[in-house]
């Protein structure tokens, strides 16, 4: 569903992502970990078409993001790290705008908007202008918008920021259900516990390179350390030199 094919992205002379090759199949929840400045945000931006690779190709459902961005976007839902909404639209109007942009038939849009309002418990405030929302309310609305068209691929950039524990639980349950139904999730996070709990596989990026790719169990085997704590494994991997892998 998601494919990075020898992707390199540079900022001026400085490489942000170097020769990234990664394939994520249908129904997998993939977590991308790494310290600040490792290249996670660049990777996410290339995956949603905001940045073009300097070399290589990124594909979603077989569509090249550089050549067929619209078709790729039709299959993608995106939750950015900072929720961006139209201040002068209500939450419901925003969901209708998204539904219209995805060309959803009216009866289906009505049904799915109702469904997402219920899932994310938006009913209380979804007819207020979004300028009055708290960060958590905005984030829940953005989640609802991203899932509205039942995307094949969901891209999440630090998804739990601003959410209260109940909302976090809702999101986790929803991700589990949707991945079981075949949705692929690509998530960038600093929350190791979340990755440990949710991810089928993790990728750890350091200085623009994928230092590790596999399951948590494989990471433990790979590191061959006494500790089984993911935090210690992560710190060991991300602070070690380039040859650590």
């Amino acid at each position: 569903m998601i494919e990075f094919d020898h992707v390199t992205r540079t900022y001026g002379p400085k490489p942000a992502v170097t020769d990234l090759s990664l394939s994520i199949p249908r129904g997998e929840l993939f977590a991308l970990l790494g310290p600040n400045g490792a290249g996670k945000t660049t990777t996410i931006k290339m995956l949603v078409g905001l940045l073009r690779p300097s070399r290589g190709a990124v594909r979603i459902c077989g569509y090249d993001l550089t050549k067929e961005a619209r078709s790729a976007h039709l299959h993608t839902g995106y939750v950015p790290d900072e929720p961006t909404l139209y201040d002068k639209l209500t939450g419901r109007e925003f969901l209708w705008f998204i539904a219209d942009m995805f060309g959803m038939p009216r009866h289906m849009a009505t049904q799915k908007i109702g469904r997402e309002i219920e899932h994310f418990e938006l009913a209380e405030f979804c007819d207020d202008l979004t300028e009055s929302y708290s960060l958590g309310m905005k984030q829940r609305l953005v989640f609802a918008a991203a899932l509205l068209h039942d995307p094949d691929v969901l891209v999440l950039d630090e998804p739990m920021v601003g959410l209260d524990p109940r909302s976090v639980r809702i999101v986790k349950d929803l991700l589990r259900t949707r991945t079981q139904e075949g949705m692929t999730v690509f998530m960038s996070t600093h929350t190791l516990a979340m990755a440990e709990e949710m991810a089928d596989r993790v990728g750890i990026m350091v200085r623009g390179q994928l230092r590790f790719l596999g399951t948590i169990a494989e990471l433990r085997d790979h590191m061959a350390l006494e500790t089984t704590n993911l935090e210690n494994l992560y710190l060991e991997l991300t602070t070690a030199g380039p040859d650590a892998s």
């Binding site: 992205r9 540079t10 900022y11 001026g12 400085k14 942000a16 931006k45 949603v48 078409g49 905001l50 940045l51 073009r52 961005a69 619209r70 078709s71 976007h73 039709l74 993608t76 995106y78 950015p80 900072e82 961006t84 139209y86 002068k88 639209l89 419901r92 109007e93 925003f94 969901l95 209708w96 705008f97 998204i98 539904a99 219209d100 942009m101 995805f102 060309g103 959803m104 038939p105 009216r106 009866h107 289906m108 009505t110 908007i113 109702g114 007819d127 202008l129 068209h149």
Partner: protein, 597 residues
């Protein structure tokens, strides 16, 4: 609202059961509805929560429109009586300079809307054509860059029609002519913007700076050739004819401004012969067709460019290296931090911080430089004309008011929101060992010192060009200092009294009720100061003019028009300044001490 669309009306039935890519028309419709909904919600908000501001905007626009209309009626009547062909020259000069400004303003607005806004970031991740996003943002940018033209141009063109006794078809064609003209420079601006981002890369800043320098140099050369190097004395018929001869440079047949001018002049023809009238109308329609067809061609080109390189340009821009780093401390900062007593150091450090933020915010200093620069240019050119003493004095007081009004827009736009923005960062200042009063005083000093230097210098320039007496220059300078104090006090005091701690945009903070009130109070204060200061001087001139060489007036009129009157008016101005400075500041200080962010 369940069961109805997000814009509140029923749509057609489904065409397929799954998501699908939209057609060009459907994308356009969705964006149109988005803009309509946002515009409606904004209007609803203004009608319910910002009535004062809306009423002021409508009232001032109506006054502005009416004043311009009256002015143009007088102007066109005068020109018609002298030489009707002059109007063609003036139209060409006006529309061609407007065209250049529209190219730049649209390019700048589109750069912000298409490449730097968070909305663009969202839209680029949706299954929508790049050219549809461009068209959506272009609509916004064109409206924002051209509403001034509509406000300024409509009274001029209506007045021209009235003076010429034009047929009704002229008024019918006005709006299509104006809109079709505006599309051309706006689209050219859009093309330049997208091409510069996509193909010039990081060199675009240098290229744009060079272009800016070239345009400024061209404008300066043109200004000089029109007004500065004229051998004839300013204001004489000979001088006027020389200026008009030089304005003919704007009459180029390949320019859209010429098509517009010619079309309007043809449409305005009022012939008694039906055949001649019809022929003129036909000519006008032909010019309109030329404007529309060129606008459409440019739109096609712009959309092709958006399809080809908008996303590529966006990607390049996002991928550029972070902004430059400040390598050393400015000498002004060092001096301000070190000078003075240790007790006043926190206040000076706060001042240095605000100075740094001002220097690094291009929106602030560029507007400051542009507005005061234009004012300086206008003052500098005052010497072209010869004035009598009374007229020069009147202009000098009007210039004082203009400088004050420009400063008041800055204090409202940039100083008033400072406390609200500081409130959002209160965790920084709130934990420092600084008294809250000092924070407010630092804002006041920042505003006062920032305003008083350019305003006093500009007024001195204005008075020198007008040949004003030394005593009146002192009166103006004292008034200017009082104005700067009062305007700073009003902006800082009201900003602290009515902070908007939830809003992060200074423009939105300034546009709220408090900001509008600040602007209104500032304007009233300026008017009061100028009227009080001008009264004794003009009373003296009036008594001299109407006295017919008789004995000087006695009693209250004599006292008011003499030096005692001037001294009393300055005392009154000073008193008003103290009230305007310290009353809002005291209210603000009290509120700021109690502020719980």
């Amino acid at each position: 609202m369940t069961g109805t669309s997000w814009w509140g009306r029923s749509g057609r039935g489904p065409q397929s059961e799954s998501c699908r890519l939209l057609s060009v028309d459907a994308e356009s419709r969705v964006f149109s509805r988005l803009r309509a909904t946002i515009a409606w919600e904004t209007l609803r908000f203004m009608l319910s929560g910002a009535r004062l501001r809306l009423a002021l905007v409508v009232l001032l626009s109506a006054v502005f429109w009416g004043s311009l209309y009256a002015l143009f009626i007088e102007g066109f009547s005068f020109l018609e009586s002298i030489h009707a062909e002059v109007i063609s020259l003036l139209f060409n000069a006006f529309f061609s300079s407007l065209m250049i400004m529209l190219v730049f303003s649209t390019a700048i607005l589109l750069y912000g809307n298409m490449y730097c806004s968070t909305e663009a970031k969202v839209l680029l991740t949706l299954p929508v054509r790049d050219e549809a996003i461009f068209a959506h943002k272009f609509h916004e940018a064109m409206w924002f860059s051209s509403w001034g033209f509509i406000l300024l141009g409509s009274p001029m063109l209506v007045a021209y029609g009235v003076v010429r006794g034009s047929p009704w078809t002229y008024y019918l064609l006005l709006l299509p002519f104006m809109v079709s003209f505006v599309v051309i420079p706006a689209t050219l601006g859009a093309i330049c913007c997208m091409a510069a981002v996509a193909w010039l890369g990081s060199l675009r800043v240098h290229a744009l700076a060079m272009l800016g320098v070239v345009v400024c140099a061209g404008a300066a050369w043109l200004g000089w050739s029109l007004f500065g190097s004229s051998p004839a004395a300013g204001g004489t018929t000979e001088w006027f004819e020389q200026v008009l001869a030089r304005l003919s440079i704007a009459e180029q047949k390949f320019l859209p401004s010429w098509w517009l001018s010619s079309g309007l002049l043809d449409a305005a023809q009022n012939s008694t012969q039906p055949e001649t009238r019809f022929a003129s109308l036909l000519e006008a329609v032909k010019f309109l067709a030329v404007l529309v067809s060129n606008g459409m061609l440019l739109q096609l080109l712009a959309r092709w460019l958006a399809r080809s390189c908008y996303r590529q340009g966006y990607s390049q821009l996002v991928g550029e290296m972070p902004a430059r780093r400040q390598r050393r401390i400015a000498w002004t900062d060092e001096f301000l931090s070190a000078a003075g007593t240790a007790r006043g150091r926190p206040l000076r450090l706060l001042l240095v911080k605000d100075l740094r933020l001002f220097r690094r915010d291009i929106a602030q200093w560029s507007q400051f430089v542009i507005f005061f620069g234009l004012l300086g240019l206008y003052f500098f050119n005052l010497r072209v004309f010869n004035y009598n003493v009374a007229y020069a004095s009147m202009i000098s007081f009007l210039n004082l008011a203009v400088a004050g009004l420009i400063l008041s827009t800055f204090t409202t736009r940039f100083v008033y929101p400072m406390i609200s923005l500081e409130g959002r960062r209160f965790w920084i200042l709130g934990l420092l060992p600084v008294h809250r009063d000092q924070i407010l005083w630092s804002k006041f000093l920042f505003s006062f010192l920032g305003g008083v230097v350019p305003c006093c210098a500009l007024l001195y320039l204005s008075d020198s060009m007008l040949g004003i007496s030394q005593s009146l220059i002192w009166v103006h300078e004292i008034c200017c200092v009082v104005l700067c104090m009062g305007l700073s006090g009003i902006a800082v005091g009201l900003g602290a009294r009515m902070p908007d701690l939830r809003e992060s945009s200074p423009a939105k903070i300034a546009a709220g009720f408090g900001g509008t009130l600040c602007l209104v109070l500032s304007s009233l204060f300026i008017m009061a100061v100028v009227v009080i200061a001008a009264t004794p001087t003009h009373l003296a001139m009036a008594t001299r003019a109407f006295g017919g060489g008789g004995p000087p007036p006695t009693g209250i009129l004599g006292w008011a028009s003499g030096p005692q009157g001037t001294a009393a008016s300055l005392l009154l101005v000073g008193f008003l300044g103290v009230i305007a400075t310290f009353l809002p500041l005291e209210l603000g200080l009290r509120a700021f001490r109690r502020l719980e962010p």
